[in-house]
């Protein structure tokens, strides 16, 4: 197991390197450089000014030269300086990251709890009204565009009912923990809905197949109460494949966070990413994409390791 983990960690290095090359090339080669933000003002700008600007940012150099320079600095933890704010990218990300992690963490926990409850009830009461409704809603949850769900929630709970704040993280002048949590409800719900739908469906089918297993019949034959049979024997085994999927999805949540943070003006790295794109802030885009990719790669490994830890039948050599 230890050698397996070490080998996998070592394999991550060329993977991350590959990702940086691909992403760097894509960002740099895109038409319309950082000077686009200057040109958008519509006024005439001396071409020499633009030339100087590009030179100062270093984007006048060939891409491979820029990449080597970027990589050399990145290894030491220096992700360069943001074009739009002239502040270190690493610092900007560190500042914004807690908000994103809070949103993702809250959504993850909420989705896990709700999906567990829905999945278990659906499986135990297969083909009941509850099961049919849950199945129908999960299809809707998967097909629904996240941003539209966000708009509808804002419309209903913020605009019409006035129960929850529309956006932001706190009410100016009246901030408190409770106030902050009220701000977290809608974005958290929006980000979690897709995973509630997916995970509860997965748990349902996984539990249904486990409930037909011999050891479940044995547990029932021993005369154990149904709650113990389902809750202890069945659910624990049904969760094994789901846990890996949850670990994978945690990294994928970052994509959803980009949209959710933008709609709810949540000051995390997702919203910062969209702003960076409009400003063509190459170092900031690069830094955030690198972070997102590393998260995916790490959680891939976590998912594989969890799978082996939870299921003793699986052995890594």
């Amino acid at each position: 197991m230890t050698t397996y983990v070490i080998r996998r960690v070592l394999q991550m290095i060329p993977m991350v390197l590959g990702v940086t090359i691909v992403v760097f090339a894509i960002i740099q080669a895109a038409p319309g450089g950082p000077e686009g933000a200057l040109l958008e003002t519509g006024r005439f700008i001396d071409p020499q000014v633009i030339e100087n600007y590009r030179e100062r940012l270093g984007v006048d150099q060939p891409v491979h030269v820029q990449y080597v320079r970027w990589l050399g600095a990145a290894i030491t933890g220096d992700l360069g300086v943001s074009f739009s704010t002239t502040r270190p990218v690493a610092e900007m990300i560190r500042e914004r990251l807690p908000a994103t992690l809070e949103l993702m963490g809250a959504s993850f926990l909420f989705a896990a709890v709700v999906a567990l409850a829905l999945g278990v009830f659906s499986a135990v009461r297969q083909y009941s009204t509850f099961d049919h409704v849950a199945t129908g809603l999960s299809f809707v949850g998967i097909a629904m565009p996240v941003f539209w769900f966000a708009l509808i929630l804002q419309l209903v709970f913020s605009v019409r009912l006035g129960w929850l704040p529309v956006a932001g993280t706190e009410t100016v002048g009246a901030s408190s923990l409770g106030d902050h949590l009220m701000h977290l409800i809608l974005p958290g719900l929006v980000l979690s809905v897709r995973y509630i739908a997916g995970w509860s469906r997965y748990l349902r089918s996984s539990l249904l197949s486990v409930l037909r297993a011999d050891y479940v019949r044995t547990a029932r034959a021993k005369g154990l109460p149904e709650t113990v049979v389902v809750g202890v024997h069945a659910v624990r085994n049904a969760l094994i494949p789901l846990v890996s999927i949850m670990a994978l999805n945690l990294a994928g949540m970052f994509s959803g966070a980009v949209i959710t943070e933008t709609i709810f003006a949540w000051p995390g790295i997702g919203r910062m990413f969209v702003q960076a794109m409009f400003a063509r802030d190459y170092p900031l885009l690069m830094g955030i994409l690198l972070l997102g990719s590393v998260m995916v790669i790490v959680f891939n490994l976590v998912a594989d390791i969890l799978y082996g830890v939870l299921d003793p039948r699986i052995r890594y050599e």
Partner: protein
């Protein structure tokens, strides 16, 4: 399916698809979804004949109207008829969905087939490439790539397709690994058929089930991706309406004109739901022995 039949030709004869259709019909929801999709696509395609207004016809005498008999879905800030715009928006959204699914599935099938068939180093290299493509978060990458599209529907489809081939590649590779051990592949090889021909004639046609299912689900994914991007203001730009950029427009005035938010979103939900149900039904129909419970 008789043995002889498989050896002679690819299985896409009328008889096989007839069976698929029969299985599919048992899934009433999938069939209903199929007709919903066809109807929506047809209505959007025929928008110039159906709509009573131009999609960009500004009518300042009837701005911000609620849904009514004249304007079924109401009008926007410029008095443009929302129903008309939803139809025209659908043309772009559905076109991108279909085209991106073709690009992504085609690329994924090619990568998966080559990797699975040739094996060894080629397989290793292609699968590492797939892992790499999987490692970059999709939406942020799409946001960066949007700089290349010039906000045109076709280039947008190609780019979305280029981001969504990995799942197909993995599934097809798995299928091909077992198909290439089949007697009919051996037979084709023994009569001297070249590898590309074997892949095209004997291997891929037998992996058509998962490919079709993957392609169907890819349509829905592509529609969601396009609308997300347009919603952020980085996709197809106004005045060309798409369901995504209509929702972006609606966001600012959501409180007073909720219909502008509700209808385009419902259109996305309905079509993606339909496509997903079709994919689900196809999965069961094409794989009657499979996991479907």
């Amino acid at each position: 399916m008789s043995e002889g039949h498989v050896v002679h030709s690819a299985p896409e004869t009328r008889g096989d698809w007839g069976q698929v259709w029969m299985h599919l019909r048992r899934h009433k929801l999938a069939v209903l979804s199929f007709w919903v999709f066809v109807l929506m696509a047809a209505v959007c395609l025929a928008a110039p004949m159906i709509a009573r207004y131009e999609f960009d016809a500004i009518d300042l005498s009837s701005i911000r109207q609620r849904p009514s008999l004249q304007h079924w879905m109401g009008t926007d800030d410029l008095g443009r008829d929302l129903f008309t715009r939803v139809l025209y928006g659908g043309r772009v959204s559905i076109l991108i969905g279909l085209l991106a699914a073709v690009v992504g599935t085609g690329l994924g099938s090619a990568v998966g087939a080559v990797a699975g068939y040739y094996g060894r180093r080629i397989d290793n290299a292609l699968m590492r490439l797939t892992d790499l493509a999987y490692s970059i978060p999709t939406l942020p990458l799409l946001i960066v790539l949007s700089a290349y599209t010039a906000a045109a529907a076709v280039s947008m489809s190609v780019i979305i397709g280029l981001l969504s081939w990995m799942a197909t590649a993995r599934v097809v590779r798995g299928e091909v690994l077992s198909i290439k051990e089949m007697a009919y592949v051996e037979a084709a090889r023994s009569i001297g058929a070249a590898n590309p021909r074997i892949i095209m004639r004997h291997v891929l046609p037998n992996a058509i089930g998962p490919i079709v299912v993957g392609a169907t689900l890819a349509v829905g994914n592509a529609i969601i991706l396009e609308s997300s991007l347009s919603f952020l203001g980085l996709g197809i730009q106004p005045p060309t309406p798409t369901w995504g950029n209509m929702l972006m427009d609606a966001q600012a005035t959501m409180a007073t004109k909720p219909w502008l938010t509700i209808f385009p979103g419902l259109a996305i939900l309905l079509i993606v739901l339909a496509v997903n149900f079709i994919g689900d039904g196809l999965q069961d129909a094409l794989d009657p022995t499979g996991r479907g419970s």
